[in-house]
């Protein structure tokens, strides 16, 4: 008998190196740095990933991973430990998209989350490419959310 958490906890989601360098590393304090870099909105690297994944799921944008990949990232246990509700949501979103059977295939589950995160990263890139200063101010993230809620 096992829970989905037990199955997935030691898996690290992968992401494209381009997304890691241009979004994750840019918006979040590097792993292992104790003090948060005040110029960065997120204090841990799993956060922009979770944000992108949620965005991908909600907007229904999924994209297979291509090119150079960042393999050594955080594990799902980090997401669960720091943001249990987000972790639960990601699993539920995957179920919504792929059906309950996905709970039996943890590899597929991880792949689904990775691909929707990849889709989310693409949405964020779109925003940045139209305005490079977007997300320079903390309120930009909130305004971005409000915009999507108003739409």
């Amino acid at each position: 008998m096992s829970t989905i958490y037990m199955d997935i906890q030691n898996i690290s989601p992968k992401m494209e190196m381009f997304d890691y360098e241009n979004i994750v590393a840019k918006f979040a304090t590097s792993e292992g740095v104790k003090e948060q870099d005040k110029t960065k909105y997120f204090k841990q690297q799993w956060m922009p990933f979770a944000w992108a994944a949620t965005l991908g799921f909600i907007e229904g944008v999924s994209k297979p991973l291509e090119g150079d990949l960042k393999k050594e990232t955080f594990k799902y246990t980090t997401i669960n430990n720091n943001g249990e509700r987000i972790f639960q949501s990601l699993i539920l979103f995957a179920v919504a998209k792929k059906g309950h059977e996905i709970l039996q295939d943890v590899t597929e589950l991880n792949k689904t989350i990775e691909e929707f995160a990849n889709g989310g990263f693409e949405i964020i890139h779109g925003k940045i490419s139209s305005n490079p200063d977007y997300f320079n101010h903390p309120n930009d993230y909130i305004n971005f959310l409000l915009d999507s809620l108003d739409n």
């Binding site: 509700r85 987000i86 998209k97 309950h100 709970l103 903390p138 909130i142 809620l149």
Partner: protein, 702 residues
């Protein structure tokens, strides 16, 4: 005597050689804050009072024009100068009073090498040029031109007015009166007479003793008198010492008060700056807390704001599985009921350890019960027949489906949360913007004050000065009571001595000798008579002078107020006590009136004008009157009449005023203004002003 012109050569904000030409009558110099008004005043102060402010050594560093210093450093010049020359005309002779600082530049550092003061002029008889360089000779000539005792009244800043005439310290007016009258001379004469009386009296007593009938008694009396005289001299010395100490302490008090008035407003501004910086820090801290909270909420809650449709879909998906499984279980149970004994029968078989259908016991087949038990769940009910895989999935489904409802509940108000956050953020940012604005204004005021008064303002601590004033005041109170005590003792001893003298004369007896025929007694009588005349003259002179000062000051005040455009200003008159020089206000009917700040300032200015005017008449001289910012405390309606009064009361007045550009034409057209200069700051690089690229420009307007 008039000041013809002043040449400023790389002095403070005046770059290169710049000249103010003045005329007989009223001269005005006007400009905005930080343009060089105070520098002009300080030029006079530097030459005539030999000091710029309180810390001469520091101020000397600020004399050299910084733009000139910077350029000289760049050009590697070895020696440079900064100087002020005042051209004074008296009895058709023009005296050039020049003070200069000579600097040497070594290793990119500018150091004062020497400070020189000289007075040059042309001898009227010979026509030869003469230059006075010896310090004592310079001082003596300077004293002829600008009597040292009068200088502080001839040249002062509006803000230091209180040191010259202070309503709470009558001694200030007494000092002013002493400076302009012959009273100190009379006091000196009185002291000399006292000295002669003492000596003559001793001789007279010796003669009396020689003629005394009772030698023993007269010897005793003489001895007593000598002893009392010695005591009197000692007490008089102590009285004098107390007086000297009081004067010194009063000087100290004046110096500290001057320092305190110099820093006036600065500590409040610094405190305001600190308070605003603290408020800004707190507002930033609050903003940071809001930001931290928002980041936490963003990642844990807000990013799933639009997830309800997905969650609903996930729930449908999971419930579909749950329903399917339940259905499977039901089907399995139904199938069980057809061929397999029910729960009740199986529980009995397990309990009785035998098959109730075929009668086989545990003895016959030891594994029978174990086999039956594997088909029962923990409630001893027959298990369904679904696969382990399905049951494993069920565990996972059940584990996550329970999260849906709490997630949905917690995210139901996100839009409102986000809007509230934005609002809180904007409010805080607005608060910071208004603090920044206030801080900017306060910093500008501080900068203006530093520009106006120099960097030494940063070094003066008002708390230390205030406590020094308190200490001086305490010492003053002690010394004043000591002075009073010795004064009483002196008067007591003098009366005792008079009594003893009388007894002494009685001892001699009129039969043997006529005391009035003794030459010393005759001298003494004349001396007492002279002393009485002097004392009377002093009283008359003092009362007369006080009356004149009072009348003149009131005349000046009345004329100023009557010329003011504001008809609501009540004319108050100053009343000076002839006993102790204390000053008070009375209305036109002579009733006491407390007055108010601006009225007090006007009264003080009128008193000084009156003192100087009387001094001019009294000593047959006329001196220029130089004042910086005299009207800063005045209502605009009084400013002009006051300036006019300066023109009426002084042969020459140099008044340095705050910006009057709005009324410049009005001033220009006035008959009483003889010259007007405006000054402004110019910069080598427009729009960018720093100490090394900006300098004062003089514009002669009239």
């Amino acid at each position: 005597m008039i000041i013809q012109k002043v040449e400023l050569n790389n002095f403070k904000s005046y770059y290169g050689n710049q000249v103010f030409n003045f005329k007989n009558g009223l001269n005005i110099v006007s400009g905005k804050i930080g343009t060089g008004k105070t520098s002009l005043y300080e030029a006079f102060q530097w030459v005539l009072l030999d000091s710029m402010s309180f810390k001469d050594n520091i101020d000397e560093d600020f004399i050299l024009n910084k733009k000139f210093e910077f350029e000289s450093l760049q050009k590697n010049i070895n020696q440079i100068e900064s100087s002020v020359t005042i051209f004074v005309e008296e009895d058709s002779i023009v005296y050039r009073i020049k003070k200069e600082n000579v600097y040497t530049i070594k290793n990119n550092d500018c150091q004062i090498q020497e400070i020189n003061t000289s007075i040059s002029f042309e001898e009227p008889r010979t026509g030869n040029s003469k230059v006075i360089l010896d310090r004592r000779e310079v001082e003596s000539k300077l004293d002829e031109l600008f009597p040292e005792k009068l200088r502080k009244y001839l040249l002062f800043k509006g803000e230091t007015l209180n040191q010259l005439i202070d309503f709470s310290n009558p001694n200030t007016l007494e000092q002013a009166v002493k400076q302009i009258s012959y009273l100190p001379l009379f006091s000196r004469m009185s002291r000399i007479i006292d000295d002669i009386i003492e000596k003559t009296d001793r001789k007279y007593r010796n003669k009396l003793q020689a003629n005394a009938r009772d030698q023993k008694k007269s010897q005793q009396l003489n001895y007593d008198l000598e002893s009392k005289q010695r005591d009197l001299t000692a007490k008089k010395d102590k009285f004098k010492q107390a007086k000297i100490d009081i004067e010194k302490l009063e000087e100290k008090e004046k110096e500290y008060t001057e320092k305190l008035s110099f820093v006036a407003g600065f500590p409040d501004l610094k405190e305001e700056e600190n308070r605003l910086e603290y408020q800004r820090k707190r507002a930033f801290d609050n903003l940071e807390t809001i930001d931290k909270e928002s980041k936490q909420l963003f990642i844990n809650k807000w990013i799933i704001a639009k997830s309800h449709p997905l969650l609903d879909k996930a729930e449908v998906e999971l419930r579909k599985f749950i329903s399917w499984r339940q259905n499977e279980i039901a089907v399995s149970r139904e199938q069980l009921e057809l061929g397999v004994p029910g729960d009740h029968l199986i529980r009995r078989m397990v309990k009785e350890r035998k098959c109730l259908i075929c009668g086989t016991t545990e003895k016959d087949n030891p594994d029978l019960i174990k086999i039956i038990e594997t088909h029962l769940d923990e409630n001893k009910k027959v298990k369904n027949l679904l696969s382990d895989e399905v049951e494993d999935l069920n565990e996972k489904v059940m584990d996550i489906v329970k999260n849906i409802s709490p997630i949905k509940t917690s995210t139901s108000d996100i839009k409102r949360d986000l809007k509230n956050h934005i609002l809180r953020n904007k409010e805080k940012e607005g608060e910071i913007a208004s603090i920044n604005e206030a801080l900017k204004k306060t910093k500008e005021k501080i900068e203006d004050l530093i520009k106006e008064k120099g960097y030494q303002i940063l070094e003066l601590d008002p708390k230390t000065i205030t406590s020094a004033i308190q200490r001086v005041k305490g010492d003053l109170a002690t010394k004043r009571s000591q002075k009073e005590f010795y004064d009483k003792q002196v008067r007591g001893l003098e009366s005792e001595i008079r009594g003893l003298n009388k007894k002494f004369e009685e001892l001699v007896g009129l039969e043997e000798i006529d005391v009035n025929e003794i030459p010393e007694k005759k001298s003494l009588n004349y001396l007492y008579e002279i002393k009485q005349i002097i004392d009377k003259k002093v009283d008359i002179e003092k009362n007369d002078l006080i009356e004149k000062i009072e009348n003149e000051a009131n005349k000046i005040q009345k004329s100023i107020i009557q010329q003011s455009k504001d008809n609501d200003i009540i004319v108050l008159y100053v009343k000076i006590s002839k006993d102790d020089y204390s000053i008070s206000f009375v209305d036109k009917d002579g009733n006491p009136n407390p007055g108010h700040g601006a009225q007090e300032t006007l009264a003080k200015m009128s008193l000084i004008s009156s003192v100087l005017k009387l001094s001019n008449e009294y000593k047959g001289e006329s001196y220029p009157f130089i004042v910086d910012a005299p009207t800063s405390n005045f209502d605009d309606t009084i400013t002009k009449p006051f300036i006019k009064s300066v023109s009426e009361n002084f042969t020459q007045g140099l008044v340095i005023l705050k910006d009057i550009h709005l009324e410049i034409d009005a001033y220009k057209n006035e008959e009483f203004t003889k010259s007007i200069h405006t000054i402004e700051k110019s910069s080598d690089t427009p729009g960018e002003s720093s100490i090394i690229n900006s300098y004062t420009i003089i514009n002669p307007i009239k």
